[in-house]
């Protein structure tokens, strides 16, 4: 068709050509789609429902823990300590790289098998690479009179529960 052979009219200096406009539009669409994919991917990879154990643990009746005892609750990963001032609970997860610590009664210390951190009964670090003391966890008494430890609730040290 001879009409198509015609020269396209020159584009004025201060305007973009049709090709440039569509080029920018295309680039904008791709950027938007890319950003959307990133957001979508991030949302998809973050689980909304987790089937992890509840952080709240029933540690039974308080009178099973003699004064001066440190009891390991391996399932929950906590220590129940009955000191002279009262009850408290410590996380058994090392603050260094997350290994499970163990109560060593012969040393009177909590020891981590991975990199050698050691903590005293109050969770204060006495040796090793751990950057922080073992966190104190909230302890309460249920209506039935059981000790309840909430692993998700870290409390400041030296909050004792007296029964």
């Amino acid at each position: 068709m001879p009409d198509e052979q015609k020269q396209t009219p020159p584009v004025p200096q201060d305007q973009s050509s049709r090709r440039e406009v569509f080029g920018k539009l295309g680039l904008g669409c791709m950027l938007a789609a890319g950003a959307g994919s990133l957001a979508f991917g991030y949302e998809f990879l973050s689980p909304n429902v987790l089937y992890e154990p509840s952080p709240i643990t029933n540690a039974g009746k308080p009178d099973q823990y003699p004064v001066g005892s440190v009891t390991t609750n391996a399932e929950a990963g906590i220590y129940i300590v009955h000191g002279p001032e009262g009850f408290y609970a410590l996380s058994a997860t090392c603050t260094h790289l997350g290994c499970r610590t163990a109560w060593a009664p012969e040393l009177g210390l909590i020891a981590c098998p991975c990199h050698g951190s050691r903590f005293n009964q109050a969770g204060v670090k006495v040796a090793g690479p751990a950057p922080n003391p073992l966190p104190w966890l909230r302890v309460s008494i249920s209506d039935e009179g059981d000790l309840i430890v909430d692993r998700s609730a870290v409390v400041p040290p030296r909050q004792f529960l007296r029964t």
Partner: protein
Amino acid sequence: MARSFQNYLGDLRESRVWQSIFRSGSGPSNLHRSQAIQQNLYLHLFSVKSRRSSLAIGVTWYLGTLSMVTFLILVATGIPLMLYYHPSVPQAYADMKDLQFAVSAGLFLRNLHRWSAHAMVLLVFAHMFRVFYRGAYRPPREFNWVIGVMLLLVTLFLSYTGYLLPWDQLAFWAITVGSNIMSAVPLLGPKIRFLTLGGNTVNANALLRFYVLHCVILPLAGGMLVGIHFWRIRKDGGLYSGKSGDESQPQVSQPHE
């Protein structure tokens, strides 16, 4: 009179079936030998010609080739292992034990997979040291060095993700420690850990994610990077021979290659 094996091979090469499969045809000329490399899907990544000096063992110690061979062994042993392995808690541990004690040749495949994995990490490091100390990373091979660093990371991530799959104590605590190291990344650390594990603890989601990374995503990424790596060797002038005067120019657009 008995015909030699060479005669039979010659007849085979002349046959219509052979010539339909191998497009280059056959013959003793350099052209035919070049075409045998150039017109083959797998071999065309390589240079059509190599310097005899660059193929001597002392030049590269074949460390790159050996790394590739261990990768192929890992693919060849890993796929059969997948047929007996369920990436679920706690079945994974039982499957690993079954592979060791109940599956015919399971112990052999698993051990070959494990030892090859160790060998691959070692060989990749050795290959990089060899390239570094010979100066084979210099222009025009800089980008191939970068690809090599990516391949090192893929190798290490493959090693790390494979470590969790036996689902034993060593696996669990190694990944616990490793993922806690991840959370030391400034600002994003805890989020990266959460996304990698698919949760807050090393659990069923983490096992499944590591399995998919180990068996699908990382091998595919590694395979693609290896393809680019080999192709760049050709484009950057073949293996670095280290001789003065070998300032191997990159081959610029050869239309018939």
